[in-house]
Subunit: 338 residues, 2 copies
């Protein structure tokens, strides 16, 4: 009888779980002033990163994160079989240009701020399915490219609403392999797009909380596990507002996660000292916190099994102006210490 590779409707099981053999994280100066300062590999003080535009800077951040992960694993781009990447720039341009410069076979993804985990899901499928030995997943975001593209001209310095999050400037990369040492990815739950009618582009937490909840509940039902079987449930960028909403929604479903539940967007900044309002967001928020702090906690033995949920607000800048609400999504992975 073949091994069961699917639980319920949405959860995949990896019987030869891919190993996270290395990660690389690069952040901007604001992230380096926050509580997780010591967990990042590199800090870029100049938001232009020596380039002539923020977009080119973001592409370089992404390349830096990839090169950092490769160096840690003592590998070159030629050793990587597939490069899965995405970002928030229109047509994921930072990823396309980084893929060109790095020269690895490329599969472009768009899951907004959930993209890092969407990539890990597909990389795990490629590896556990026997199609690849080594896959690299990377994402980026940049506060200045996101602000000008989705909201107002960055230089205008428009006053921010209290529910608004701060886009993380940075990039994260991770190498998954069929063997080697490191934590492993044992399960993945692919999310559905959930839209509860929230249309405010300044409140992503409210957009994504129902999607995150739906994926967590689905994961627990599919696997037959309770929240207590995880040392930590960590979402990507719900922020303070979204975490509060998701906590309540999970309680409505009979799950009380309490201290076991946190969010990368809550962890990355100190909202009082750093004036970041609802917290961090952006593709890099999930990537630099899980690729840095969370993996380090697992490697140090402080966490044994983590359920991570990449959250994304699938926002196009013109769509709310045409009367649309904002759809949200959440993709979950289980990372275990080996």
């Amino acid at each position: 009888m073949p091994a069961v590779k699917k639980l319920g409707q949405q959860t995949l099981v990896f019987h030869n779980p891919p190993t996270i053999i290395a990660s690389g994280t690069v952040v901007g100066s604001k992230e380096a002033e926050g509580p997780l300062a010591k967990t990042f590999d590199h800090v870029i003080e100049d938001p232009y990163h020596g380039e002539k535009s923020w977009e080119r800077a973001e592409r370089r951040l992404l390349e830096d994160a990839v090169q950092t992960a490769l160096q840690k694993a003592n590998l070159t781009p030629q050793d990587i079989e597939f490069f899965l990447a995405g970002d928030l720039e229109n047509q994921t341009e930072a990823s396309s240009l980084a893929a060109r410069n790095l020269g690895m076979p490329y599969l472009g993804l768009f899951g907004a701020c959930s993209t890092f985990f969407e990539g890990i899901v597909l990389a795990s499928v490629l590896i556990d399915g026997g199609f690849a030995e080594r896959v690299l997943v990377a994402v980026s975001s940049h506060c200045c490219t996101a602000e000008k593209q989705f909201r107002f001209p960055t230089e205008q310095g428009v006053q921010r609403s209290p529910t608004q999050s701060w886009t993380v400037t940075g990039a994260g990369a991770i190498i998954l392999a069929a063997g080697g040492n490191g934590p492993v990815v044992t399960h993945a739950t692919v999310g559905k797009v959930i839209d509860m009618g929230q249309g405010d582009p300044a409140n992503f937490g409210a957009v994504m909380a129902p999607a995150a909840t739906d994926t967590i509940v689905r994961h627990l039902q599919d696997t037959g596990r309770g929240p207590a079987e995880y040392d930590l449930v960590v979402t990507g960028d719900l922020g303070l507002v979204g975490r509060e909403i998701a906590s309540k929604l999970l309680e409505d479903h009979g799950y009380s996660l309490r201290d076991r539940f946190t969010d990368c967007g809550v962890l990355i900044y100190d909202p009082q000292k750093q004036d970041t309002h609802a917290g961090g967001s952006g593709c890099a928020c999930l990537a630099v916190v899980t690729g840095g702090y969370i993996l380090q906690q697992i490697q140090a033995g402080k966490l044994q099994r983590v359920l991570g949920v990449g959250t994304g607000a699938l926002l196009n800048a013109d769509s709310p102006k045409q009367g649309e609400t904002i759809p949200g999504i959440g993709h979950a992975i289980v990372i275990e210490r080996r």
Copy 2:
């Protein structure tokens, strides 16, 4: 000894090749006036498709193509395990909103006009890897949403350059399954991003021809096959200019494809009668021609084995203005009659 699932650096082999059990194609009025008119499932005469914006119309086209494929297979969205989709709108908004309305677990992709085949590659990996029984892949493009987003206000009617292509208005969907009747996907070659320094957003053919060539050459080298082992090699949207360049580049590599080589963008319009200059382009160009005409030719026994190469110009509207050239990509799949 386990079966070899990888040939060379970039080609995947599917030992339990996924079956294409159904496809659905929807196009606009211009496509319905072209040489392939009779091969499409549905024609939408109104570019607004009853909606208030072209973007909402494109989302509906995508949903229509999905529903058409589902109806042909006598399935509902609940029978589909994963929905893989993408489009050219910023942040692939047509796909996000369609995924919300259709309710299937969703993995968003961005490969520009190559997205349909990128989706088929990943769907085949999910199915052959044992992770899914049925996966649906769909993409869309709309002439009016693409024109305003990438070039000039659509209403302005700017004169078009002779090298420019016409974005196909339409959507295509395909259902891949672990069993059933229909042609099968036996191989996939994941492309690298190739950029030969072409920076003119009005000449996508020149952007993508080197990427298409690179993927075809890589596929033939990886598999040890010659072009004669394929009844047809068909690219996505090189158009007349790009097909000419790719033919020459392939000859430089020692491959003379001649009549065996065509392009969906060349097939879909009559350039003289329809004033479409270099031919068709857009995500839907690849999807409605391969999901319609090519599959019909295979099913009718006129083609036994086809190498299809989805081509994409990974263009962001602002990037050339910042001095960047345009990166191209090509993803190949092999479709065989069973």
